[in-house]
């Protein structure tokens, strides 16, 4: 088997965070290689480096033995490297043929498109990926997600790609569709392609893959043959690290129930959600990508317009429903969204205007805003969170990621909420700000607030939470209290591996 790609000592930083720290990886022809790691382990960074979207700060890339710099997506494509993402990047309004030949059409002698030739090639490709019930002229928007994946594969076949990267291709597929995809992947392997397969589902890794690589926190942990390792061992490599010291969990007396959610479903993103939150408690929500945690809380906050949900919400033992975010905020619930840039702040506006935006009713009298009151609130919370800025009139877009996040937190604290829902509060911020945010979360419960902490970082939820609820594909799979915290147990529930591992 010849080596198709080899990565040596790859390093990549993003504003102070080491996304990749000296990893290596090889893919040979005719094998399927699993890349395993938690969220934030550096898997997608590797994919982006291989497809020319990011440049590594350090390290070497060899393609078929030649040292190469992949400086654009086109170059990666020309080198025979293609990636298939969870959400495929295709053109909805075009047909299959047009999608496959996008960007490199065949022309006839007169310079017009040679549709006949492209049509027949598309037909052959569709047969090759076992898509029998569609035509080259079928509009893409009528296809299912699984069919779209196959179109992407057909597209890479048409270009004789040697390396195919599959980034959680089965995350949204049904069992039958998944089987179909496996068949094609095996066929690619038999044809001598090298396949890099990223997935959180252990069953499919064991069924499909020949070798594995485990990454953790951007570092290479181990590699080996798939048939020489067990699920349990893999999970251990995945999570094995020191947990506890860096996260200051204050001892707070847990009080009465403040929030209770019963049989909450919208049957599309999540179903049968039951949980409660007590005063002074930090309740962690853990899950992998697509577990439906953010969707659940957006729905509770009245932020998913058009999606009907059923079930009951009790706030301080009183039944309640929030038609929109304002109702939830007025009842003392603040939701800090995951996507800071798009949902969390208004980047063009000043720090002051951002912080007071949800509290305008407190600084405005008969519609007229009092600048003094605004500045007082901004100063109080800005200083509390130690926002580093030249002045409060500075636009938020000029702050660093960590300070932007502090503005978002300050804004929600100024509402004086009773319950604070934090969705990935430390995503993409530097280590120092992260520690500050952790300390701050602990201080919240000291002041009598209750916190829901949605996080994809296991050490973070384990370090801070009193209880952890684990979700998988829109359902609650486990609820674990602090005495029983165990990384493997949580990971097992999050990946829905099955209970036989622990019993």
């Amino acid at each position: 088997m010849s080596v198709l790609i080899e990565l040596k000592n790859i390093k990549k930083h993003f504003s102070g965070i080491k996304a990749l720290d000296g990893v290596h990886l090889t893919v040979k022809s005719g094998e399927i290689v699993a890349l395993i790691g938690e969220n934030g382990a550096g898997k997608s960074t590797i994919v982006k480096i291989l497809t020319g979207i990011y440049q590594p700060d350090n390290g070497e890339i060899f393609v078929k033995g030649r040292k190469i710099i992949i400086d654009s997506a086109r170059k990666a494509w020309n080198l025979g490297i293609t990636a298939i993402h969870q959400e495929t990047v295709l053109f909805d309004e075009l047909n299959i043929m047009e999608n496959i030949f996008m960007g490199r059409v065949f022309k006839n002698r007169l310079g017009f498109l040679d549709k006949k030739k492209m049509f027949s090639i598309t037909n052959e490709l569709l047969k090759e990926v076992h898509l029998d019930d569609v035509e080259p002229k079928t509009p893409l928007k009528t296809l299912s997600l699984a069919q779209r994946h196959l179109i992407t594969i057909a597209r890479s076949l048409s270009h004789n790609a040697d390396v195919v990267i599959l980034d959680e291709p089965t995350a949204a597929l049904s069992l039958g569709e998944t089987r179909g995809l496996y068949k094609i992947i095996r066929k690619l392997k038999d044809n001598g392609k090298g396949i890099l397969f990223i997935s959180h589902k252990f069953e499919e890794l064991f069924e499909l893959c020949d070798r594995y690589y485990v990454f953790r926190d951007g570092k290479y942990i181990s590699d080996g043959n798939m048939d020489e390792v067990t699920e349990k061992e893999l999970i251990k490599m995945l999570v094995g690290r020191e947990i506890g010291q860096i996260f200051p969990k204050e001892n707070v007396e847990i009080g009465a129930k403040v929030l209770e959610v019963k049989n909450y479903s919208n049957n599309i993103e999540f179903k049968n959600i039951n949980f409660n939150l007590r005063k002074g408690e930090i309740l962690g929500f853990y899950g992998l990508v697509g577990a439906g945690r953010s969707e659940l809380f957006k729905s509770l906050m009245g932020l998913s317009e058009g999606l009907k949900s059923s079930g009951e919400i009790f706030l301080n033992e009183k039944k309640i429903k929030f038609p929109d975010a304002k109702a939830a905020i007025d009842n003392g619930i603040a939701y800090l969204p995951e996507d800071r840039q798009h949902c969390g702040t208004i980047l063009e506006m000043s720090i002051k205007n951002n912080i007071t935006l949800p509290s305008l009713n407190r600084v405005a009298k008969r519609g007229l805003i009092s600048k003094e009151k605004e500045l007082a609130i901004t100063r109080e919370y800005g200083n509390k969170l130690q926002i580093k800025a030249d002045n409060w009139q500075m636009p938020v877009e000029e702050l660093s990621g960590g300070n932007q996040q502090k503005v978002v937190i300050a804004k929600w604290l100024a509402v004086k909420p009773g319950i604070m829902i934090l969705d990935e509060p430390t995503k993409g911020i530097d280590v120092a700000s992260k520690a500050a945010v952790h300390k701050f979360i602990s201080s919240l419960v000291l002041q009598g607030l209750s916190v829901i902490l949605i996080s994809s970082e296991l050490p973070e939820v384990m370090g801070l939470s009193d209880r952890i609820i684990v979700m998988y594909k829109g359902e609650i799979k486990a609820e674990i209290s602090r005495e029983d915290f165990n990384a493997e147990k949580i990971m097992t529930a999050a990946a829905d591996v099955g209970s036989d591992l622990h019993d």
Binding site: L303, D324, A325, K326, A327, A328, I329, D330, Y335, P337, H342, C343, G344, T345, I346, L347, E348, M349, S350, N353, L357, P358, L360, N361, A364, G367, L368, I369, D390, Q393, M394, P395, E397, E398, K411
Partner: protein, 328 residues
């Protein structure tokens, strides 16, 4: 945010002053008190209406029905004045405001609550309101100056402290709008929504309601302009102010109001409208042919938009601390 725009307003002011001085050099009568005040009288309606356009643009929308709103309300108050010559002038102005508001409310309902695209909605109401004007005018009959009362026609020209009423109205609308957008809660919320609708929803702002209010306000102001227009030009007819909505779009574009929403200042809109009227006023007095006038105001719009698109580009992530002063 203010800092960023001071530059642009300074530029606009310099250009305006430059054109005034240059025109005055060629035709000295332009620089007399009478010349200047007639320039401001001529630009008042465009200034007021551009502020209406600005409000909806701040939400990320556009209002193409403004000129038809003017025609309809103008025709209506003209007819009322004709049939009831004893109606007090303040009543007629109040009527114009209410009718304008009503037309704006209709736009606001469709765009805010039914979430229809502003361009298409106001394109539709632009034609609908114009059609209504034709209907109430009994099939296109004109209201001429002899049909209107003295007080109706004279109100815009009443002089107070040497400045005529129409200019005072423009000044007052400008001040009120400045207070509204910079000191009032609703104004702040309109900026937020235009800047980032999603984030505004997350902090619990009532998006639909605020967009509705923005169109109500623009309709209200257009209603006022409807009266001013008919009184100033002493005539009302179906094609009145046709195409004027595009001049307001051009004026706010020159003034640095982003058509994507959330960006723009009151002084910017006023100066943009002033510059546009100035070009239209100065060129004829310099003896430039009307065809060149059109081409030159077109060029002014395009230059302004080039400047806009360059300054609205997302800034490069700032790494050095003192790199705050932004060049336009």
């Amino acid at each position: 945010m203010l800092q960023k725009f001071k530059n642009r307003e300074f530029y606009l002011l310099t250009i305006i002053a430059g054109i005034i001085v240059a025109t005055g050099y060629i035709t000295p009568s332009f620089l007399t008190v009478g010349g200047i005040s007639s320039l401001f009288e001529d630009s008042s309606i465009l200034i007021i209406l551009s502020l209406a356009q600005m409000i909806v643009m701040l939400t990320g929308g556009i209002d193409l029905s403004l000129a038809s709103n003017i025609a309809f309300t103008g025709m209506l108050v003209g007819k009322v004045c004709h049939s009831h010559p004893d109606s007090p002038i303040l009543f007629l102005i109040f009527l114009a405001l209410s009718v304008g508001l009503l037309l704006g409310m209709f736009n606001g309902f469709l765009i805010g609550y039914l979430k229809l695209p502003p361009l298409v909605v106001t394109l539709g109401t632009m034609n609908a309101y114009r059609g209504l004007t034709f209907i109430i005018s009994n099939g296109g009959q004109w209201i001429k100056s002899q049909d209107l009362t003295e007080s109706f026609l004279n109100f815009p020209h009443i002089s107070f402290l040497g400045i005529s009423m129409i200019i005072w109205i423009a000044i007052i609308v400008g001040i009120l709008m400045y207070i509204f957008l910079n000191k009032m809660r609703l104004g702040r919320e309109i900026y937020s929504i235009g800047n980032n609708t999603l984030a505004s929803e997350y902090v619990g702002l009532k998006i639909s309601r605020n967009i509705f209010y923005a169109y109500c306000l623009s309709g209200l102001i257009a209603g006022l302009c409807g009266y001013l227009w008919v009184a100033r030009f002493a005539v009302a007819y179906t094609e009145l102010a046709q195409g004027f909505e595009l001049q307001t779009v051009a004026a706010v574009a020159i003034g640095g109001i982003s058509n994507l929403g959330g960006i723009g200042t009151v002084p910017g809109a006023i100066l943009g409208a002033l510059l546009l009227s100035l070009i239209a006023n100065a060129l004829p007095s310099m003896g430039i042919s009307p065809f060149w006038q059109l081409a030159l105001s077109g060029a002014a719009i395009i230059i302004a938009i080039i400047i806009n698109s360059r300054s609205n580009k997302l800034p490069v992530k700032r790494i050095l601390k003192n790199w705050i002063t932004r060049r336009e």
